[in-house]
Amino acid sequence: MKQLFTLAFALLVLGVTSAFAQSTVTGLVKDSGTGNPVAGVSVGVAGASSVATATNVNGEYSLTISSPGKYQLEFIFPGYTSQTVNIDVVGTMTCPDVMLAKVPVAQADVVENLNVNTYDEVTISSDDLDSESSTQAVSGLLQSSKDVFVSAAAYSFSPARFQVRGYDSEYTDVYMSGISTNDLESGYGSWSAWGGLNDATRSQLVTNGLAPSNFSFGGLGGATYINTRPSQARVQTKVSYAATNRTYNNRIMATYSSGLMDNGLAISLSASRRWAEEAYVPGTNYDAWGLFLAIEKKLNDNHSISLTAYNAPTKRGMQGVSTDEAKELADDNYYNPNWGYQNGEVRNAKVRYQQKPTAILNHYWEPSNDLKVTTTIGYSFGTYQTTALNWYDAQDPRPDYYRKLPSYWAESAPQSVVDAYTEAFANDPTYSQIDWNSLYQVNYNSYDEGTGEYRSKYMVENRITDSRQISFASVANWNFTPEIKVNGGINYSSYVGKSYKEIEDLLGGDHWLDIDQFAERDFGSSDLVQNDLDNPNRLVREGDTYGYSYDSHVNNGGAWAVGNYVADSYEAYFGANYTFTEFWRHGNMRNGRFPNNSKGDSDKNQFHDFGVKAGATWKITGRHYVDANVAYMTRAPYFRNSYIAVRTSDIAIDGLTSEKIMSGDINYNIRAPFFKVRLTGYYTKFMDQQDCRSFYDDNGQTFVNFAMKGIDKVNRGIEFGAEVKATAALTVTAAASLGAYQYKSRPTATVTKDNIGTVLKENEVIYIKNFYVANTPQTAATIGLNYAAPKYWYFGATYSYFDHMYVDFAPGKRTADVLLGYDEGDPAREEITKQQSVSNAGLLDVSVGKSLRLAYKYNVNINFQISNLLDKTDFRTGGYEQSRYPKDELTSGKFPSKYFYAYGRTFYLTVGLRF
């Protein structure tokens, strides 16, 4: 570690101390098919990330290179085959015109299709008490990229929930036309906000890891800039239809981009619809729309303004995670406990609805060739809703509740009973799925004499977060001297989220009584049971807010700057940022358990955070170079993790503090015309993370909040990527990520009763040092063959391998308290506390495509892709231990872990028409 820093520092110093005369290379980029100039093409020097520019609307570029010598220029634009040009730079010179060839359409759409999947399946879930998020969550951050590792890994690793370097999505910043789109309450990336708008958001600038970018300071995991500027969009009209059996069955998409027209206007439009009556997982339906509009006006040579607006409302029935017992009984690893028949139709109890209409106004100002200033204002308002069953003093309606499974009865009941349960679960959807009929009948049987109405015992509630956010950002890219470039910016965002529950469906009843049943069981009828103390014993009806309601206010602002120095055979940069964050909770309901801590404004939590990063590149030859990056940054805790029971009270975790991150990487790159390799070693240490979760605790027989702090982690490992052009038609790609992501501290937990806030345990030590970070493969490798056959046929095959995948652990089981009564050396201790892992697995994907041209005008492409060709349906990508661990059941297996399973064999067929 120390050596790494020393090396980086040495490189930095070397870079800064060398200075040479510089050269300017200019040139023009055209479409090889039409001869028209191509705008927005990234132009860069291989291995020198800071020497980069983009072509203007006339396809022209100008690049400043610090010293003469042999260089490789890279030209990259989505939809076109990237090109590398070797040049010998001697003073100011003009490069021959570069003719970019459109990617064979079939191949382009393979990329598109794979992107579709990553987009659609990003899940942002934190509102489920039992941490039951979607099982098919994958990182949306794996994008097509010029990087050999990322481009090889992007598609093949997604099914295994692979996270680059083990980082969560909150460590990668995603910018939509200048505005950061990471959720301010949780940090999550929000790719679903533009789901289905793939064509309109295809132009992306991706920086990986700590490498500097010219649009932001960058997160630990890098930054992505989605360029929606219509003057830089590819001129096209495109219509496509896709059939698949993944998260949806059908997709139609249409996109039009005008390019910059003679009147100085440029327009992009896109619309899409994706839907399924029942997708891959039983009981999951899907209905999504996407609408996108961008319009740009070039005011004069120096000023342009553009407006981008989009929305992607999505409604879908969710997949639930169940135990292996239920899956075996149903003979289906994709068994979904969330649905049941209602009047013969499949009804899913857990329906997610989300949308985030967004408008972004950009002002592009180029006062000179050496200065660009982009100023952006964005406004979005969204909603994120998830329905769920709720019930009062009635049997748990979930079909896989442990008392409804044969194993529960096996202990004490006659074998005939166990057989009857096994039989019923296998064959009778009344038992294996939600029995909606019985829920209605119970409600119809629940006449309440006091009110003369039917009081629902079962109902569907909707947990809602409505948000609105206004953002401002300004970024300047300044070529101070030909050697020194400075990128910097300021930004400010103000966010308000309103979280509450609403009655969605009373299932035949007339009202619901707004009290807390856990509190009622503990305290009987008193003020303590009231969810809304100012309106006690309120009868709530469909559409009414109940349970809890609070606003989350988050403001943040900051400034950043990165200076790049470019010398002959060295390059170096140094950057710093500062961020101010404040957040507070405003309660809209006075909760009976927390009469003085639930309504009105809480104290403000304020944080000052900073980051510094530096790096250098040593160009050994034009084709070999080594670069290294180091960073130290602090980050304010997120609102979501800062309160012990945020729904009902504003009591913050004691000792809230910013997380500290120290990171470094070193990379060796080869970029030969037919051979590209990157080998990277990285090391990242996270300190002072916190985590807050809620669950039902059998030992205390109550809901508890489990707030951990002082979590340290180390993520370290090696990344390898290679691309070899074996012949003109055959390309071999390979990528491997060998990581070790581990907890490196013993955090302390404060456990409180959700009911009343009573502290059950304070600073309880959680023994998880050296546990592994769960739910991402720590080892992943892939090898792929791409064959571009004559007559625009395209074939591809990829094999991927995943290993070292761990199951998320219940921290409460790793305490001295739980082990009380087990003697040292008792094998039960190991059984209770050891971390579970899941088996390694391999997946094979294949694809075939064909493109053709009709009437010299229409490009038609057909692409067919099969993922997991061998239909491996037992691939567990991770899972979690149930948080229930009654002391007498620690080793009984009554509350087993729940596992996520990757999809079995799926297909994706696209037919596209472009003109």
């Binding site: 139609i252 439009l269 339906n285 029935g317 009635a394 009865w409 909606w436 009929n437």
Partner: protein, 287 residues
């Protein structure tokens, strides 16, 4: 102009495709209607007949338990109510001849079986047993290897034996008790004791008036009952520590109490369903 042409073309395509896409994911559902409780099973055995089959140890009912009947089907009206938690996984039903406790391994039974609901019970394959002399109909469970009488095991098994019959609720009139009626034949029936009061009202330990049960420690309490008209021996008011009213201070007056007459080893235990069953508003009488 060119762009307008393009846009109109695009719009045309979109509209046509969207029309195609009309049938799709459905998120709206009609309410399920109230079902009428019907069963084709007809009772062929009275509860008294059923109880008479029982000796002194657990027995399984089969098609040959009663000669000439391939099945044993009883019917009865529900009299118990577990809403307030004094009854637990237990349903008392009563016909003209007798009453019996149905043991069901399910909580919240009042959501399914309201007081006054007529139920038909197919007894084949079920078990008869007793607890302290009170006969119970249910299943068996293994208590550390020893089979004991237990509840019918959840919905899957209950649905094979217990059927609701009719949607009308016709509550049973409680049997007005006197000393001669306090007998084994009336165990399990809904009864009412008039001219009665709780014998001792003051805890000699805490020097406070008794509560119905010990809610804090979830402990069941038996409180002696006395009448100034009839001489009852071994009669108590029994309340579970899990009852919602367990923590309530007892009524110290006199009057009447309605409840299910249960029995344990010689003691008759009156169990109320909720505090509406306790009507002790008159002044306390002196013994």
């Amino acid at each position: 102009m060119k762009s307008i042409k393009h846009i109109s073309k695009l719009a045309l395509i979109m509209v046509s495709v969207l029309v195609m896409a009309q049938s799709c994911a459905d998120f709206d559902f009609d309410d399920i209607k109230k079902t009428s409780n019907e069963t084709t099973l007809v009772a062929n055995t009275t509860i008294a007949e059923l109880k008479a089959l029982y000796g002194s140890s657990i027995m399984q009912l089969t098609s040959s338990s009663i000669a000439g009947r391939d099945s044993i089907i009883i019917e009865g009206i529900v009299t118990s109510d577990d809403r307030d938690g004094n009854f637990y996984k237990s349903l008392f039903i009563q016909d003209a001849t007798s009453a019996i406790e149905l043991k069901l391994s399910k909580t919240g039974l009042y959501n399914d079986y309201k007081r006054g609901q007529k139920v038909v019970v197919l007894c084949n394959d079920a078990y008869l047993g007793d607890y302290g002399g009170q006969i119970q109909l249910g299943s068996i469970y293994s208590n550390s290897g020893v089979w004991e009488i237990g509840g019918l095991e959840g919905d899957v098994i209950i649905s094979k034996h217990v059927f609701k019959s009719g949607n009308e609720l016709n509550e049973v009139a409680p049997l007005v008790m006197n000393s001669s009626l306090l007998k084994v034949a009336n165990i399990g029936k809904l009864v009412v004791f008039n001219n009665i009061q709780i014998a001792d009202t003051l805890s000699l330990v805490s020097h406070k008036t008794y509560t119905y049960a010990d809610a804090e420690n979830d402990v069941t309490i038996n409180l002696g009952l006395v009448s100034n008209v009839v001489s009852y021996s071994n009669l108590v008011l029994r309340t579970s520590g899990y009852a919602k009213f367990a923590e309530k201070t007892i009524a110290t007056g006199s009057g009447s109490i309605t409840g299910i007459l249960t029995y344990y080893n010689g003691t008759y235990q009156l169990m109320v369903r909720d505090l509406d069953d306790v009507d002790l508003d008159d002044t306390r009488f002196q013994m």
